[in-house]
Symmetry: D2
Subunit: 253 residues, 4 copies
Amino acid sequence: MLTIADKTFDSRLFSGTGKFASDSLMIQALEASGSQLVTLALKRVDLSGGQGDIYGPIRDLGVNLLPNTSGAKSAEEAVYAAHLAREALGTRWLKLEIHPDPRYLLPDPIETLKAADQLCAEGFVVLPYCHADPVLCKRLEEAGCAAVMPLGAPIGSNQGLKTREFLQIIVEQASVPVVVDAGIGAPSHACGAMELGADAVLVNTAIAVAGDPVAMAGAFRQAVACGRSAYEAGLGQVSAEANASSPLTGFLE
Amino acid sequence: MLTIADKTFDSRLFSGTGKFASDSLMIQALEASGSQLVTLALKRVDLSGGQGDIYGPIRDLGVNLLPNTSGAKSAEEAVYAAHLAREALGTRWLKLEIHPDPRYLLPDPIETLKAADQLCAEGFVVLPYCHADPVLCKRLEEAGCAAVMPLGAPIGSNQGLKTREFLQIIVEQASVPVVVDAGIGAPSHACGAMELGADAVLVNTAIAVAGDPVAMAGAFRQAVACGRSAYEAGLGQVSAEANASSPLTGFLE
Amino acid sequence: MLTIADKTFDSRLFSGTGKFASDSLMIQALEASGSQLVTLALKRVDLSGGQGDIYGPIRDLGVNLLPNTSGAKSAEEAVYAAHLAREALGTRWLKLEIHPDPRYLLPDPIETLKAADQLCAEGFVVLPYCHADPVLCKRLEEAGCAAVMPLGAPIGSNQGLKTREFLQIIVEQASVPVVVDAGIGAPSHACGAMELGADAVLVNTAIAVAGDPVAMAGAFRQAVACGRSAYEAGLGQVSAEANASSPLTGFLE
Amino acid sequence: MLTIADKTFDSRLFSGTGKFASDSLMIQALEASGSQLVTLALKRVDLSGGQGDIYGPIRDLGVNLLPNTSGAKSAEEAVYAAHLAREALGTRWLKLEIHPDPRYLLPDPIETLKAADQLCAEGFVVLPYCHADPVLCKRLEEAGCAAVMPLGAPIGSNQGLKTREFLQIIVEQASVPVVVDAGIGAPSHACGAMELGADAVLVNTAIAVAGDPVAMAGAFRQAVACGRSAYEAGLGQVSAEANASSPLTGFLE
């Protein structure tokens, strides 16, 4: 059971809502994922409740919403978006994303900490997307963030855990939950993140662009569960040499 | 559903029986793994049916047995062991292992092909353990082997898929099932092998030496299932750049 | 020819002075390295000019000095150390290092940018050690830093280019020289950093703890030179398939 | 100084002659490489000495020739090519290559050993191209081969040392020189192969297809030299944690 701020989650797979071919496919995939926390860009919420609004169908799933500030290029823009999101969706929960560069969408450490400081002070439950920078994660934690969301690789790249060595350090040092976000491109990556001790992962692109997004969502659900089980069961040591699994000494003496 | 020779399998996780702290732990782990094909070293079968025999308890599980020739250093020794195994266990199925070097336990390509030629001709269902050598795998297939079992890394090393690029080629070229054997040290490795198109994996050490082998067996069971699902669902492309999962153009215009 | 601020360098290998078994070995290694920029911790400079001072011998080499603020845990401490260093060594050049955590010695992005802002304004030539965070590197550049020094892996770990994907982005986006610092454990790592377009590398531990530090310094000198040559000569594409280097079509027709 | 059979070499970089844009570029690159052993496909030798013959210009370089059997798909074809090569080029030296599959050009372990057996018995100095299979390398050595040439990755792929763990074992176990062949795509790869203890490397595609093949040949020359120096100087240990290169305890007490 994972606890973040005042909520508990049975599922350690969080999902995103972008890039799906249709809203109905998105809803089916969210159901198959078993996710209890779902992020959506504020821009996709039609504040007037008109057509094209994805908020209604997602709300009907009964999941917790995690509005994000995707598109914000500064702390100021992110804070503004946070306020709108709280108003529109009635939640204090927020995925804080600030990425000034449109090509790699990498998060800005300075603006992110600045916005986190302010939003935590205002009572938001802040989950910041950040580089896999162990010192920054500690600072975000000290600012009052409810969790940290370090990246595995650039958003949507499907490259996997390119920051593995640093994620390991973050997990070792963190006092709040660590949610690996961005770059996870296959269930094996999600499983690997859980094996090294992450508390949860957030997946979007890898599910949305799969040949069969609903089946892929189910695969990620299992992958996160088994990665967690493996972490709890205790993985064996890696060795440079072989170790016979079958008895070898002497041949059928 | 996986078919090898005349048998079909619901589970794509095959298990080994070495290195467990006790026989009862081994039996529980085998049950938790859901494996329907279980390998055991001929040496561990007490041909007189006395104490210390592991054959009885495994047989009672109702799984298919895959005796192996672990310890054999030449084709001649392997063929001899195969004959004993067929006699003792009443099965034509055989995991052919020939590894002359005791430190890394790497398989001998020449002796393995030689033994495979003979044993296939004699009617054995031969599954050879071999290097992740695509040409050798084709030759073993041409010799009549029912599957090929290329390694991910040295036996018992838990290093994972060190031969990934070559496994990919083997999967692309093989006309018989490809079972990744040796080196798989974590569920994420097993999942990754399935994602790249392997038909099954064989795991032993990573389960046997885990802190909780029974829980780890369950984790591997899930990992293999979700890796297969992901392969069938179609994984997305990996890209060097980021691809926004949330809409970005303009900030809340 | 590499230019940083107002200086030009023939050599793209910068060296550190810590961990050598003796000062005379350090001096010989520095000579063998061909380095024209050498970093030293302010603590190692005996401000009274007494015994144990390493400043004298290094100065006699005729290299440029790059005092560092190693040990500083905050911007304030780093600025204080910078002032002392300028006074003691008569140079405005500074390697800015702020790492609050003693285990992994990873740099603090917030304090580093804060100190960089102030020191650049005061006229220092600031080369900040930082995480391989492309956005942070841009911010440090905007603050007026003369170069950025992203890490390959934790200091002294010899792990190599664990941040390769991010270094590539930093090189692509930077308008100031990029000096890969920390983690480089072998000449092949230094060569690889230069091949991906880094302007220079800083090496310390890998030379100091080598079996023969002087020979290793010479190896790094060559490695940096040939990595740069390769970058300039234009590396070939990597492909998933083979491409015959010898003509194949038909056998001796 | 490297010794193979009855010859000694100052240079540990061997070169190939395929894929160059022109013969004159090839000759210049060979000169820049400093190679003393150069491989060429028998097909490229005009046995009548007419136009398009590359043998003449290469011979004039004063290097040792290593004709190869590229294109041979069986031991029989390779032996036939070996005889022609000996006749045409007046050398007993031979790079034995047998690759039945045109897509990945991976070597056939069975046919290669068979041809090696025969050619060694006939007095050839055989250097076989083979998979990075430690057991196969031992068998080729026992057959009388003068060196072994395990691959880093498929020929011409520029992927680098994908077989690193196995090359390490081959180097540890071999009693004849180990020449890493195929897949080396950058000087850092060649340097890395030498650092792990290879005796030499063979490079072709990475030089021939570079933007400036002559400069790239020079870069490889240096890379091999410094990788060897590093191996001899003794590389430091890799650690999971940081190790301060500058003194840290207490800040300017």
